[in-house]
Subunit: 129 residues, 2 copies
DNA sequence: CAAACCTTGACACGCCCGTGGTAAGGTTGG
DNA sequence: CCAACCTTACCACGGGCGTGTCAAGGTTTG
């Protein structure tokens, strides 16, 4: 059997079993189930779990954000509406708004991460998948 | 002067002054400032405030979600990475995952909205902008 | 058959989000 | 000049997020 149980999968992907269930509930990674209902993580799921960790730590985003991106890609009406709204940006010639937002977004975890010494490796977007 | 102060803008867009400042802090709508630093909301900002309200109430999303979409559109590396991750969906033939996620996402506000009697009008995505 | 897993559900905790309020101080206008 | 606005900076508060732990019960395995 090349499918791992939740504890095994957790151990080698550096998540907790709790978080694996949470990630499933968020609709991000839904493993197969055995006849008795046990979660079975195959190689694909394991890889996905590892890259998910990469994603959230490297860009300082939450699982909810990834879920929202998924919803964006699934719900065309939502994507179109948001796109339309964002496109109607007021002409702001030499203002730099992205930086502000980024700073605000990242302030959340800044101290925590500084303390934890988290240092994102310069992995390319391509090798993330 | 066709630019409104924060209270005036709040009143006619049905936000609170507090939320207008919050929205600005989130990098979503940043009005001009007068010499003394007063926020000045022009017609464009007012329209954007109204459609923003439409957006969040109709799709049950948060300001953080809109901000994240904005970040997605601004940060190409992030967009590429997330896209790559989402694209690597495990082949799941007859499973319907989107519904679960949607339900989970919407459970947050369901009771509140039900009580408040919020009823999204079937506005099209196009007329939202 | 007992130990060691697994399941779902619940309680807890600290921090963030959306929101309101208030205080201390600057600006505007009659 | 004073009332009525504006600014930023805080405290508060309910609910969500990310996480751990525990209980009650079913499953797998030596």
């Amino acid at each position: 059997m090349d499918a791992l149980t939740i504890h095994e999968a957790a151990q080698i992907t550096d998540w907790s079993p709790r978080m694996l269930r949470y990630i499933e509930r968020a609709g991000l990674i839904e493993p197969q189930r055995s006849d008795a209902g046990y979660r079975l993580y195959g190689p694909a799921e394991l890889q996905r779990l590892r890259t998910l960790r990469e994603l959230v730590t490297r860009f300082q985003i939450g699982l909810g954000d990834v879920g929202f991106a998924q919803r964006l890609r699934r719900d065309d009406e939502l994507a179109t509406a948001i796109d339309a709204w964002l496109q109607a940006q007021p002409r702001r010639p030499e203002h730099v708004p992205a930086a502000d937002w980024l700073r605000w977004e990242q302030d959340k975890h800044s101290r925590l991460l500084a303390l934890a010494g988290v240092r994102a490796e310069p992995a390319t977007a391509a090798n993330l998948a």
